[in-house]
């Protein structure tokens, strides 16, 4: 069997993603639509939260993907540092905006949800706080990429930032939970999946989660392809300048 590393070759990657991307994109659209439509229109209202509970079908999948995107960036950065496959650095670069969007969706849907449930858009609950911090990490990571001209230098620096940042992100999350001990009001109000949520909610929720995962995959593939094209363009321009 061919090694997975051969997809680190940009040409091979472009070739494969050429037919993979449309499939993933369509699947993402279909699965997400099914999950969201089922969730919004074909589930009963919660007896305490009313119809606002349905925002969970956007909120939880996006929150999940926001964290997974960071994990993917971490893995891709490690691959770049250890094996120096350019495609993996570009994939990490492409994952960041997607993760940022997911984080933003989680924050916004959470705020929209919080208004009717808690009576306020925002509380400094540990989970919310650690998400805000994650948002800042994404912003910093993207800003660092965008301010470095040389692509390899950018890949190196952002990879180190991602590694160091991951450690501190974990520390921050732990710190946030430590900090508001006994104060936070979130958990008591939230539904605990598995304990109180029944299948009428769970099934569409899982479907939307898969849908969001596919959306994320499609975005990363698309972003990586764009980055590879940009590199090719730059190389061509350079070559032209030489002649």
């Amino acid at each position: 069997m061919a090694s997975v590393w051969e997809y680190a070759n940009p040409r091979k990657f472009m070739h494969t993603s050429d037919w993979l991307l449309p499939g993933v994109a369509w699947a993402a659209a279909v699965v997400t639509t099914v999950g969201l439509v089922w969730g919004f229109f074909f589930t009963p209202d919660d007896f305490r939260q009313g119809s606002t509970v349905k925002i969970v079908f956007l909120h939880v999948p996006s929150a999940l993907m926001a964290i997974n995107a960071w994990i993917m960036m971490l893995v891709a950065s490690l691959i770049w540092v250890i094996r120096r496959h350019h495609v993996s650095a570009l994939a990490a670069k492409a994952a960041a905006p997607a993760g940022l969007v997911m984080t933003a969706i989680a924050l916004i849907t959470g705020a929209l949800w919080g208004q009717p449930i808690w009576g306020t858009w925002w509380v400094w609950d540990p989970r919310l706080t650690s998400f805000l911090i994650l948002f800042l990490f994404y912003l910093g990571y993207i800003a660092l990429w965008s301010s470095i001209e040389d692509p390899d230098t950018g890949a190196d620096l952002t990879a180190v930032l991602c590694l160091v940042g991951s450690v501190f992100a974990l520390l921050s999350r732990y710190a946030a939970f430590f900090w508001t001990q006994g104060l936070h009001q979130g958990a008591s109000l939230s539904l605990q999946p598995g304990t109180r949520m029944d299948w009428a909610y769970k099934a569409p929720l899982y479907i939307s989660m898969v849908g969001f995962g596919l959306i994320f995959l499609a975005l990363v593939l698309l972003g990586t392809r764009t980055e590879i094209r940009a590199r090719r363009m730059k190389a061509l321009l350079t070559r032209e300048r030489m002649n």
Partner: protein, 218 residues
């Protein structure tokens, strides 16, 4: 190698070297907050630990770009990179110089500013202790951020944005330590965590800083 430290200290003390910049900022913050928030002693006392820690952190944050930027601009950093001292040593000494010139004055000034903010009496000791324990981490983390952005065009902004999330655990434990101290609650957990973060950053981050500096210089 000690020459680097003495040079940095001397430069900071000379006119324009930026010594006292952080201190002035800290003082300004302590004056502005009561003016903005209003003079009620109970409100001030409640927020004093947090404000004093946030102020110290911002004062460190704002002086970070001096760590490498000046040496970069006048070409010294290129020359240091070709000099016979390891870059790990350079970044450690730079962090130490930053701590001595920026953080140490803050630690010493904090109790005085505590008076301005009605900090409760039992908290003074904890304030100084927490800053003494936490600021080395701020300097070392900041040096990492400065090394990451040296020579970059969007330096200042980017530096704050990158370093801020890294500062959060230190801030949380530091401020929590003082708040608990003020209320007479047990402090051993935040104390241990704060010490742990500082020890870990001081031991490990210089290697990361030297690595990114090397990447940036090439």
């Amino acid at each position: 190698m000690i020459a680097l430290l003495t040079r940095d200290l001397r430069l900071a003390l000379r006119a324009g070297g930026g010594f006292g910049l952080g201190l002035a900022f800290y003082l300004i913050l302590a004056v502005l907050v009561p003016l903005g928030v209003g003079p009620e002693p109970t409100v001030l006392a409640a927020i004093a630990p947090g404000v004093l820690w946030v102020g110290a952190l911002l004062a460190c944050l704002l002086s970070l770009d001096r760590i490498f930027a000046l040496d970069w601009e006048d070409g010294s950093l290129d020359l240091l990179a070709t000099a016979p001292i390891p870059l790990e040593g350079v970044v450690t000494l730079k962090a130490l110089a930053h701590w001595i010139t920026t953080a140490l004055p803050l630690v010493l000034a904090a109790p005085v500013l505590g008076v301005l903010l009605n900090l409760p009496a039992p908290a003074y000791g904890w304030l100084v202790l927490s800053l003494l324990l936490g600021t080395p981490a701020l300097s070392v983390i900041g040096t990492f951020g400065a090394a990451l952005t040296v020579g970059l065009k969007r330096g200042g902004l980017l530096l704050s944005l990158l370093v801020l999330p890294l500062y959060i655990p230190t801030l949380v434990y530091g401020a929590e330590l003082v708040s608990r101290g003020a209320l007479g609650l047990p402090v051993s957990t935040p104390l241990a965590l704060l010490a742990g973060i500082t020890a870990g950053s001081v031991a490990l981050l210089p290697f990361a800083s030297a690595a990114v500096l090397r990447i940036n210089l090439r």
